[in-house]
């Protein structure tokens, strides 16, 4: 049952990836998204050796993608939502008392290149 949930979620995320161009941020400067990133994601995903998420992704993608998720060009809001609510490897999922659905939408837009803000 759990496997089926994961498969569906991954399919949904991949489908969303295919449709990525359709999503755009309405916010010119996504302060909420940036704040959520800084509070919850930056400690593992910022550039530099001391960030285990960045190190893990660097090794996983072997140069095909950057290790720093803010530099990804194909990250969709749906993928961000999926990983935040499901986790992966040693990264646990985040509860709604930590990142609300509204904050997650802002984070997803902040991290998605199609909703890029100039200073991201």
């Amino acid at each position: 049952m759990k496997r089926s949930f994961w498969s569906q979620a991954v399919c949904a995320a991949l489908l969303a990836l295919a449709c990525a161009g359709a999503v755009r941020s309405a916010e010119p400067a996504n302060d909420t998204g940036r704040a959520v990133y800084e509070r919850w994601c930056s400690h593992c995903h910022d550039p530099g050796l001391h960030h285990p998420g960045t190190n893990a992704l660097t090794v996983k993608y072997k140069g095909v993608k950057p290790g720093v998720i803010r530099e990804w060009t194909d990250l969709t809001p749906e993928l961000v939502r999926f990983w935040v609510r499901n986790g992966i490897s040693v990264m646990p999922p985040f509860r709604k008392t930590e990142i609300t659905d509204t904050q997650l939408t802002a984070l997803a837009q902040y991290l998605s290149p199609q909703s890029v803000e100039p200073s991201r």
Partner: protein, 550 residues
């Protein structure tokens, strides 16, 4: 809709409606997707029968709402399982000890109620993380340090009542011991304050721990007798300077005097920082460099060194010792540190060297000499929690890296307390090494060193990986329980453990036919007769779930 065991669905629906009236629909969770977020991300039983799961979750934002929820739960007999930030990963996460409980998620209670620089204390709610408290202090330019464990997103309050530890001076790095005053909601919804807080309008709640009369704070840690909604902590005044040094000794037998001398120096407050014992010859790092080794890889060893390591028994062979003496690689290396005015800590370092010179061949090195404060970024060049700087670097443990191409899906901490002696280090390696080999548990390479979180004892802490394979996890789960028994048979017990192991661990604490557990149960029956609060936490069950045992 999931329902707690023994609760009729209609009653649970009514109770949920009442909960919702208290906290609002947005903070009342019962869908499968929402409840998935309350699973233990590092559970070895994930997706398997026996996984501990919540029936619902509630997220109040005030003590008053916690009281109202508790009263409703009491009326319906609904089990509640409070969590603070839910980040107790490796020790159970956000999942309840009793499947079908309603998780009481206190993350929204995230107020830092006071930070007092003059008397160096803070008063916080359960949802306040180490990052929050650190940032609060930095933003206000207060000359105070926090003591944090490795992952900075944990709850200051939650970690303390789970009796976690950190990395600065002994009186701060024992987080429960560093607390001063609690506010607690009892299982009937009553509110109490401990210590001086029991005086209305108390002015010294965070300055004097014990008040007058029986000191009860301890019964609200690792237990299920109340919900701690506020807690005070003594903070460390920002030191003027920091000195980190190493003492290296050449022979296997030097371990015993090394530890004994350390004990004297720390107990006498001559060594003031986190002591950390490594063994360069056996290629085991100090705790403070585990993250660095995960990030940059372990040092490479000469082929001769590797071959000798493979042949060593319990970390010893005369050839290995001779190799170390020939190449200058120390058998043991103690890292010590000091906080304070430079002229004081230099004198402490001088006294330290004088004491260790009794060990023939001891050598000394100054590693870091820093005037404080330093910037947050600078702390990362060292071991940041030793500067009270929280981070998430610890998630390098198990994460994918060039040296770990197969990442884990979490880990379970096996963490027995052993005596703080050199003999105990050797004995723990023998006992757990033999058991781990017999049980086929991937815990040991050649030799393991314990951690010095506590002043008077070691924690022989080992990470057991959680994988994607259920059969492997089951194997490790069974092996872990067996290791607990093995430790118990040598007089060693865990300091803390995940709910799936709490029965096994508490069974070890069995002196006089489990007299301690029988008292826990007597207290449980008196304080929480309906057994609504965290049933089964640390194996303390209410009467109706005890199955007639003991």
């Amino acid at each position: 809709m999931k329902t707690p065991p023994g609760i009729r669905e209609a009653d649970f629906r009514r109770a949920m409606s009442e909960f919702e009236r208290v906290i609002g629909a947005e903070w009342t969770f019962s869908s499968d997707a929402d409840l998935d977020l309350y699973r233990d991300a590092y559970s070895p039983l994930k997706g398997q029968p026996g996984e501990l799961l919540a029936a619902a979750a509630l997220a109040p934002d005030s003590t008053e709402k916690v009281q109202q929820i508790v009263r409703i739960a009491n009326r319906y007999g609904i089990p509640l399982y409070p969590i603070s930030t839910g980040r107790n990963l490796g020790y159970g996460g956000a999942a309840p000890a009793y499947s079908g409980s309603v998780v009481l998620d206190l993350k929204r209670m995230n107020r830092i109620l006071e930070v007092n620089e003059r008397n160096a204390y803070a008063l916080v709610e359960p949802g306040v993380s180490y990052f929050d408290l650190y940032n609060h202090i930095r933003e206000r330019g207060l000359k105070l340090w926090i003591d944090c464990p490795d992952p900075g997103w944990g709850s200051v309050l939650g970690n303390a009542i789970d009796r976690g530890g950190g990395y600065t001076m002994a009186q701060y790095r024992n987080h429960f011991d560093a607390h001063c005053g609690m506010e607690v909601v009892l299982p009937d919804g009553e509110l109490l304050r401990t210590g001086m807080g029991a005086i209305p309008n108390a002015t010294t709640w965070q300055q004097y721990k014990s008040g007058c009369g029986p000191l009860l704070d301890g019964i609200f840690s690792q237990s299920n007798f109340g919900i701690v909604t506020k807690m005070g902590f003594w903070l460390m005044p920002e030191p003027e300077a920091y000195l980190r040094c190493t003492i290296s000794v050449p022979r296997y037998q030097d371990l015993t005097p090394l530890v004994d001398t350390l004990n004297y120096l720390e107990n006498a407050r001559i060594v003031t920082g986190f002591p950390d014992i490594a063994t360069p010859l056996l290629a085991y790092p100090p705790v403070g460099q585990v993250q660095l080794w995960n990030e940059t890889g372990p040092p490479s060893l000469a082929p001769e060194h590797q071959a000798l390591l493979r042949e060593a028994k319990l970390g010893y062979s005369s050839q290995l010792e001779a190799y170390g003496m020939r190449t200058g690689i120390p058998y043991w290396q103690l890292w010590v540190s000091y906080y304070g005015p430079m002229e004081v800590i230099e004198a402490q370092w001088q006294a330290t060297q004088r004491h260790f010179r009794r060990i023939e061949g001891a050598s000394f090195r100054e590693v870091d000499r820093l005037q404080l404060p330093i910037e947050t970024d600078q702390a990362f060049a060292h071991h940041e929690p030793e500067f009270g700087v929280p981070s998430l670097r610890a998630f390098s443990i198990g994460a994918r890296s060039p040296w770990n191409p197969t990442p884990s899906h979490g880990h379970m901490w096996f963490s027995p307390i052993i005596p703080r002696t050199g003999e105990a280090i050797i004995e723990a390696n023998r006992v757990f090494g033999e058991a781990a080999r017999e049980l086929d548990m991937p815990l040991f390479q050649s030799f393991t060193m314990p951690a010095c979180f506590w002043e008077r004892a070691f924690i022989f802490i080992l990470a057991t990986p959680v994988t994607e394979d259920a059969a492997t996890n089951k194997h490790y789960l069974d092996g872990f329980r067996k290791l607990i028994e093995v430790g118990g048979s040598h007089g060693w017990g865990e300091y803390r453990t995940a709910p799936v192991f709490q029965k096994a661990v508490m069974d070890v604490y069995s002196f006089n036919n489990h007299a301690l557990m029988r008292l826990h149960e007597t207290l449980k029956d008196a304080i929480d007769p309906k057994g609504i609060l965290s049933p089964g936490r640390y194996d303390i069950w209410p009467k109706h779930l005890r199955g007639g045992r003991r």
